[in-house]
């Protein structure tokens, strides 16, 4: 253990102050600074590369996939071969092509549901952190309720009532159950920021509360919001796969979740088709991991103690 010249707490406080009390910089600078801090973290760099690969695969799926997603008529439940690298499904579809096309659904759901949950979390979290009195207590109760009610059972129940709703329904269900955590995190940050001098200055200069919350306080929480987006997107991808695996989505859509649904229903375990079981789950896990890894870098923006390379 080394002795240090500056007490760690002082250094951290200074870093936090530098990060959060600086006068609102231009959005481009914020994005660049966030990006470079995230990139400087080794784990986050791995995550960005994996995510980038998946996005490229999703965009260029029509070029990359050897066959159509639902194109069948090949040998049923065939093992891996030169024509079908990962074999075929029980319905005679090419597994590799389904895997490539399926990436579009997971990435789409992750992006859209993550974004929508984050928007709701920001709106609720920031207003909740700023208001006081009875209103805050009511929001507190509602958010806590959504936090403690187990998400997946609630999703399953809602999805069961809206049966056969497809991707749109899944996004709605995921957002309904996924915004509360972010709202709570952003609220506590808003509470700590609202007592800072720059907010007091804005109040005295006669700015309206709406402007104070969204123009003065919001830019100081960029890192938390970005982190919340990646967290929400990860949860959305896993939830979507889980719901589709249970057969609660539109089972005719080709996605990683429905691939596993059909794999289980056609007894791929008994026929020994390990690739059909292994590949979609691995893709889900890799995509979710990449987002989690990126968040390691994002955490470093809000908490300098979590940055890599700068040890105690």
């Amino acid at each position: 253990m080394s002795t240090q010249s500056i007490p760690p707490s002082t250094r951290a406080v200074r870093a936090i102050e530098e990060a959060s009390i600086a006068p609102a910089p231009s959005p481009l600078k914020v994005v660049l600074r966030v990006a470079s801090t995230v990139w400087s973290n080794g784990k986050a760099r791995i995550g960005i590369v994996i995510l980038g690969l998946f996005i490229l695969v999703a965009i260029f799926a029509p070029l990359l996939a050897p066959y159509g997603a639902r194109q069948n008529g090949f040998d049923r439940s065939a093992d891996a071969s030169a024509a079908h690298w990962l074999g075929t499904t029980a319905a005679g579809e090419d597994v590799l092509s389904q895997l490539i096309w399926g990436s579009q659904i997971s990435i789409f759901v992750g992006l859209v549901a993550g974004l929508l949950s984050t928007v709701i979390a920001v709106l609720v979290g920031l207003s909740w952190g700023y208001v006081r009195g009875f209103g805050a207590d009511v929001i507190n109760f509602i958010v806590n309720l959504f936090l403690v009610i187990p998400g997946l059972p609630l999703m399953i129940v809602i999805a069961a009532y809206l049966s056969g709703g497809g991707i749109g329904m899944i996004i709605v269900v995921v957002v309904i159950t996924g915004w509360a955590w972010g709202a709570r995190v952003l609220r506590s940050q808003t509470q700590s920021l609202r007592s800072r001098d720059f907010v007091t200055a804005a109040v005295f200069s006669g700015e309206r509360p709406f402007r104070i919350v969204f123009r003065e306080i919001l830019p100081n929480m960029t890192s938390l919001i970005v982190g919340n987006f990646f967290g929400a997107a990860t949860a959305a991808i896993l939830a979507e796969a889980g719901l589709e695996y249970l057969g609660l989505g539109d089972t005719t859509v080709v996605s990683w979740g429905t691939m596993l649904f059909w794999a289980q229903n056609s007894n791929a375990l008994l026929t020994g088709q390990w690739a059909l079981l292994f590949a979609p789950g691995l893709c889900i896990a890799l995509l979710a991991t990449s987002l989690t890894l990126i968040n390691f870098g994002v955490d470093g923006i809000s908490n300098p103690r979590l940055r890599e390379g700068k040890q105690r």
Binding site: L152, P153, I156, V157, S188, L248, L269, A285
Partner: protein, 353 residues
């Protein structure tokens, strides 16, 4: 879940009025306040369960009655029970609510039509012990093990003891529950033939409190338990590591080090002891995730707990059973959260003020 930590109990403490008096009185006031909050939350969850089917398009009640009619004539009592649970478009909403509350209090949820003529309450009480034991035991093991590994990772920061558990943990916690389950089932069940592939006990066993049956039940629960452990362990490692790193930077830890205390004493009795508290708050929240994950795990292994029952209810659109199960799961998680809150108050006297 992001790894951002919230100040322990910040939400509840600041709003609470300061109660002066003896420590014991303060402690009881804390328990009373938490119990009041539990009752309020229970009421809200029960009411949500009432509102949900009524918000949905179509008429779940009509669908349920139509399904039930396939099993034979529907008695008036059953019809009334289903309407109270799932709603009638024409009825008085307040009367329905009162009837529904009566159902909940008396635990009378009507008849399941998937498992006709068994009552919903019978089905739930048969399935509940399996999930309760499975999820309960595994969650406690995961919490203890993950916390210890997290302490180690933070203390040995930068070494392989940090990198390996952190990376493996974040990778494993990104595994979809059902995928981990499918892989274990495939390799340890079908290929390796090490463990049974489905059920909670062998075909010849009858549930009883005998050594033989318990051994058989543990043998059948091994793979589901391992799945939940693998997937939930990472979250605890990461959470503990992050709070622990913040604690290690605090002055009192530096002071303890400067005093020449043994590193192990500093790590466990100074840093970890304080870092564990914020982690405990997420215990309650994480429990919801584990319960959700166990539904998928039970589906994969055909494990006859609450989750498998819920899956069956959903695929057969057995709304009465589904509603009762959702309520059961929510109430269990709420009560577990309440117990964690109480434990938190015992461990951290500051929250009691």
């Amino acid at each position: 879940m992001t790894s951002v930590t919230i100040a322990p109990g910040s939400a509840d403490v600041s709003a609470a009025p300061r109660i002066t008096g003896s420590g014991r009185g303060r402690a009881w006031a804390y328990v009373a306040r938490k119990a009041g909050l539990l009752l309020l939350t229970l009421w809200a969850a029960i009411t949500l369960n009432f509102i949900l089917p009524r918000l949905m398009p179509g008429s779940p009640a009509d669908a349920a009655l139509a399904k039930l009619a396939q099993n034979g004539p529907v008695s008036d009592a059953t019809k009334a029970a289903i309407e109270a649970q799932l709603g009638v478009p024409t009825g008085n909403i307040l009367e329905q609510y009162v009837a529904y509350l009566h159902q909940v209090v008396t635990l009378d949820f009507g008849v399941s039509y998937t498992f006709y003529p068994q009552s919903v309450s019978e089905l739930v009480s048969t399935a509940l012990p399996y999930t309760l034991v499975l999820v309960g035991v595994v969650t406690i093991i995961a919490f203890v093990l993950g916390t210890l590994l997290g302490v180690l990772a933070a203390w040995k920061r930068g070494t392989w003891l940090d990198t390996l558990p952190t990376l493996a943990g974040s990778f494993a916690s990104a595994f979809p529950y059902f995928w981990t389950a499918l892989l274990l089932l495939f390799f340890a069940g079908y290929v390796g033939r090490l463990f049974p592939t489905s059920g909670a006990y062998g075909p010849t066993a009858t549930p009883a409190f005998t050594i033989g049956f318990l051994g058989d039940a543990i043998y059948h629960a091994a793979l589901p338990a391992l799945t939940i452990l693998i997937t939930s362990l990472g979250g605890w490692i990461l959470g503990m590591r992050n709070t622990m790193i913040s604690t290690i930077g605090d002055d009192y830890v530096t002071f303890a080090e400067a005093n020449g205390l043994k590193p192990r004493t500093v790590a466990l009795r100074y840093a970890a002891r304080n870092a564990i508290l914020p982690n405990l708050t997420s215990f309650g929240l994480a429990l919801g995730g584990v319960v959700g994950g166990s539904i998928l795990v039970e589906r994969v292994f055909g494990y006859p707990g609450i989750g498998y029952l819920l899956f069956n209810a959903v695929t057969n659109q057995d709304y009465p059973l589904m509603q009762a199960l959702f309520l059961m799961i929510t109430v269990s998680v709420l009560i577990a959260n309440f117990l964690v809150d109480i434990l938190y108050g015992v461990l951290d006297p500051r929250t009691r003020r």
